[in-house]
Subunit: 167 residues, 2 copies
DNA sequence: AATTTTGGTCTTGTTTCGAGACCATTAATC
DNA sequence: GATTAATGGTCTCGAAACAAGACCAAAATT
């Protein structure tokens, strides 16, 4: 997890932060309410040195904060920042994909429910500006204001004249 | 990427498939319409041996298919399966998080738009059964039918008596 | 004063990665 | 029909990252 992608790409940049085996698991724990080094260690089975490294990076990247309790000695709290909390959608997306595509209906290990009603969440849906659900095949890509030369070139190549046989 | 998580957990299981630096980038390319070994190589900058490995795993895991053109020699096509296509929501979730939290408004490298109207997509939202947007703080966890002993114990520990100071 | 808890660091062997050399099959070109 | 190019790989080797556990320092508890 030290080598980084250099592409100007939202996915690549995100992977520079959590593109490894442990980081999202730590963030899952944080969403479950875990705040202490020892608890992350116990609940994820990560090894100590890696946990130190990953928490350090998460703090560097602004995903978590290390809060000291001035009066409580060697006792810290790791908490998600706003930037980290904004990953909730990503977590739910992965959770729902995994439930459906890996475990299958009836085998879900964890259920996400609305706290007040205890009813399951709706599935996330990709929607266009008017709120209609669309499939990813209906999504188009365009270079944005932050695209550099390479990114622009790559995106302009995308044509998705779908399923074209190379005949 | 050979060692795997053993927890019965949707997130951990998903990470066993794409919890590394390259796999989601390959899947991004696939969503962009890339199908050929050489094109994945060129567009991701991954090294050959790793690409071979990752594509092999993706096929094993049922995310992609390797289609042979009987008549076209050493020419194959890697295509997303239904299971792979279902990752569209995950990709959009990561894309939107990254745009907003890493690049920031006005610096997006790529814009996702609705193909027919060219208008940007809506942001994904977490909604409860009645369709109201809720925050992740309103989400509750319960052991599902597929929870094993460990998972059940872990989930029952989750209380999220939020932000409790260990005072 | 001794022990425990917390949150680490350091060391060592193993695994994975990254870069490039090399290779086999088929297709195109001369 | 022989030669060259394109495609999709495999193999090797040094570098980086990981995993497990020994060790450690400060503060809190007994």
């Amino acid at each position: 997890m030290a080598q980084k992608h250099t592409q100007t790409c939202a996915i690549a940049s995100a992977l520079n932060i959590f593109g490894d085996r442990w980081t999202l698991l730590i963030i899952r724990e944080a969403f479950y309410g875990t705040t202490r080094f020892g608890d992350f260690l116990k609940n994820t089975q990560i090894s100590k040195n890696l946990l130190t490294d990953r928490l350090g990076r998460l703090v560097e990247d602004g995903i978590m904060e290390r809060v000291e309790f001035a009066d409580r000695g060697t006792n810290f709290k790791y908490a998600l920042t706003e930037k980290g909390l904004a990953l909730d959608v990503v977590m739910v997306a992965i959770q729902q994909w995994s439930e459906k595509q890996i475990y299958g209906a009836g085998n879900e290990p964890v259920l996400l429910t609305d706290r007040s009603t205890k009813a399951p969440l709706q599935e996330l849906r990709i929607t266009n500006a008017t709120g209609d659900q669309i499939s990813f095949a209906d999504v188009d890509f365009a270079p944005g204001p932050g695209a550099d030369k390479h990114a622009r070139a790559r995106i302009n190549e995308i044509d998705r004249s779908d399923t074209e046989d190379p005949t």
